[in-house]
């Protein structure tokens, strides 16, 4: 199997789907060139009508996607940074998410909103956030967050074929991570978690950039005799409760790691779900490791401090093992 990076893997998925379905089209700022190359080259193949460069007009980008989807097309809109969603939020949470329900099921909104998240590139307070919890709160949306090139391709194909609005969040630090990706089209169901490493003593739930850090922490823990299971939900809405609960019933301990600030992040929902449905299986309180409750700072050392480190994850593992 060829090894490609995540940017290429998503590009690959877009190309497959655009070849398969003439209703699929892309719109966003500078998508002909493509942020991080994700959409690069597609305009050459599919033309300007299917890969539409837009002005800086986020309400119109998301809104046009909503309208086009309602009218039967399958838009993939790009929002350069998830931080910009505030500019277009009404179109997403009041319109896209609600239209099917409001209109008695008579309309569907098959659109994908691709966006980037995450700190680590020195992009500071307004270009680095992780806001997945905002979207998880809204009935009608789906929220997908891949951590590997393989998952990204399969999930993107599923997202495009899905008849609902899917927010597809790409951690920008992962674009250049390599991984094996089949050349042909394949799908990964939205709402299916993946066990990235099997273990017995503690479950780490990790998303995006945190998955590889969790895996490294798991490796360090195993040197100290702790067997760690690493679970990547891959989609946060819907959440694969089955896999989550099964894992905690086996390990009896849970640490949740995400790059969002810890306060009211996606981990709060995951912890509450486990608390409600598998409390009796827990041998220790669930611990969350997330960003500190502050905007993301620019200076390199401070930014590094913001992002949950392997060390902090390892500390949390050891803490839950003590009780």
């Amino acid at each position: 199997m060829p090894e490609i990076n995540m940017s290429k893997a998503i590009n690959n998925a877009l190309k497959h789907e655009m070849e398969r379905d003439p209703d699929v089209f892309i719109l966003g700022i500078d998508v002909s060139g493509g942020m991080m190359g994700v959409t690069a080259g597609l305009q050459d193949q599919f033309g300007e009508n299917r890969v539409r460069d837009t002005p800086i007009t986020e309400s119109a980008i998301v809104g046009a996607a909503v309208g086009a989807a309602a009218a039967g097309l399958r838009p993939v809109a790009e929002l350069m940074f998830v931080d910009f969603i505030g500019v277009a939020m009404d179109q997403l949470f009041n319109q896209a998410a609600k239209m099917r329900y409001m209109f008695g099921g008579k309309i569907k909104i098959p659109m994908v909103l691709r966006t980037t998240c995450g700190a680590g590139m020195g992009t500071a307070a307004q270009h680095s956030q992780s806001l997945e919890a905002w979207f998880m709160h809204i009935p009608g949306l789906k929220v997908v967050m891949p951590s590997t090139p393989y998952d990204a391709k399969g999930l993107m194909i599923s997202a495009i074929r899905d008849d609902n609005p899917v927010v597809f969040i790409e951690n920008k630090m992962l674009y250049f991570t390599q991984g094996e990706v089949p050349e042909e089209a394949y799908t990964i169901p939205i709402g299916s978690a993946d066990i990235k490493r099997e273990g017995e003593d503690v479950t780490i739930v990790a998303t995006g950039q945190m998955v590889s850090r969790a895996l490294n922490a798991a490796e360090s823990a195993s040197a100290e005799g702790i067997s760690v299971e690493v679970l990547d939900p891959r989609s946060l809405l819907p959440l694969d409760e089955g896999t989550l609960l099964e894992s905690v019933r086996k390990t009896h301990r849970m640490v949740i790691v995400h790059e969002e600030v810890k306060n009211a992040g996606s981990g709060a929902e995951i912890a509450a779900t486990v608390g409600e449905k598998a409390f009796g299986y827990l041998d220790a309180p669930i611990l969350r490791v997330g960003g500190p409750f502050c905007p993301i700072p620019f200076s390199q050392k401070l930014e590094a401090e913001f992002i949950p480190s392997e060390g902090k994850i390892l500390d949390a593992i050891k803490t839950v093992m003590k009780s």
Binding site: P55, G67, A69, G104
Partner: protein
């Protein structure tokens, strides 16, 4: 297209039907049958019916919220049954009683309505893109109020529609009021149509109380859009006879609008003025007018009965429609 005698009579009839349905909806609200807001469309029937008469059934329509857009849909061929039932919260409503006052009628190209004023601007772009792609010369009629024109989304949508030459007719129902706020305090010029120049599209002002003026302006813009000429802006000067929404005070800021002021507005009534015109032209006779009114009254009785007799939706659908399978 030159309107034949029958077309003119239909325009008149549809305005009468729209007015009577409006009155019925107000009555329903007063009787507690219509479940929440109603924003009467009295005064804007000519705009709604006249503009929609320029559309094909497969054209996209975002009606203005006066009368909750029903005048436009009546102009496009729908009757009021599903509309009223929706407002009663009944399962036979346009959207199973789930939507209420922001309903859609997909079969009539009305793919949305939004509680957030101005949200239709960007969404209309998507419909325009879809219309362009099918190659069937469909157009989008996207309506908004003078208040809605203050939203930033207007700029984004006007701009992109013009850049992409989308087949959209932007139609402003300027009744001079946005809830309690008069336009003189929200917009620095006389005409919203003046905005068009900034986007290199035609912008015209019409008397929105004159259904023929509305029809002619919208028809020209629709023709242009169908032919690939891109978007246009039409501003129709209308009047709002009643308060912003039923039961709310009829004020300009804090000052109650006087009866004399409303009476002045009603002198331009689109239904009455058109009737007089058609009577003069011999298109209508007094007997025909009576007959049209009688039929509209009968339709209203049926519409009300249909809504009353319909059941509400089952609670079991509460969380069933959120996602498409």
């Amino acid at each position: 297209m030159k309107l034949e005698k029958d077309d003119l009579i239909l325009l008149y009839r549809n305005m009468v039907r729209t007015r009577k349905l409006d009155e019925l909806t107000i009555k329903g609200l007063q009787e507690g049958k219509v479940l929440s807001f109603y924003h009467s469309g009295q005064g804007s029937e000519g705009l709604a019916v006249g503009s929609a008469a320029c559309l094909r059934k497969d054209d996209y329509l975002w009606g203005h919220h006066r009368g909750h857009g029903i005048g436009y849909l009546i102009g496009k061929g729908l009757d009021g049954k599903a509309f009223l039932a929706e407002h009663y919260g009944k399962v036979t409503g346009s959207c199973l009683g789930i939507s209420g006052f922001h309903f859609a009628e997909p079969e009539y190209g009305a793919l949305g309505a939004a509680g957030t004023i101005g949200s239709q601007f960007p969404i209309s772009l998507g419909w325009g893109l879809a219309a362009k792609k099918t190659g069937k010369q469909q157009v989008v009629l996207a309506c908004f109020g003078d208040g809605g024109s203050n939203r930033g989304t207007l700029h984004e949508a006007f701009n992109l529609a013009a850049v992409w030459k989308l087949p959209i007719v932007w139609l402003c129902d300027n009744n001079g009021m946005a809830q309690y706020t008069p336009i003189k305090d929200t917009y620095p010029k006389d005409d919203i149509a003046d905005l068009a120049g900034g986007y290199n599209m035609p912008g015209v002002v019409v008397d929105g109380m004159d259904i023929m003026a509305v029809y002619e302006a919208v028809e020209a813009a629709v023709d242009r859009a169908r032919a690939g000429g891109g978007p246009s802006l039409i501003e129709a000067k209308t009047a709002r006879y009643r308060s912003h929404s039923e039961g709310s005070p009829d004020v300009s800021h804090t000052v109650t609008r006087s009866e004399a002021e409303i009476a002045e507005l009603k002198k331009r009534d689109p239904i009455e003025t058109f009737k007089i015109k058609l009577l003069k032209q011999g298109v209508l006779t007094e007997e025909m007018v009576d007959q049209i009114n009688k039929e509209a009254d009968e339709e209203i009785i049926e519409t009300e009965k249909f809504s009353l007799d319909s059941p509400p939706p089952e609670p079991s659908i509460l969380n069933k429609l959120i996602y498409a399978e």
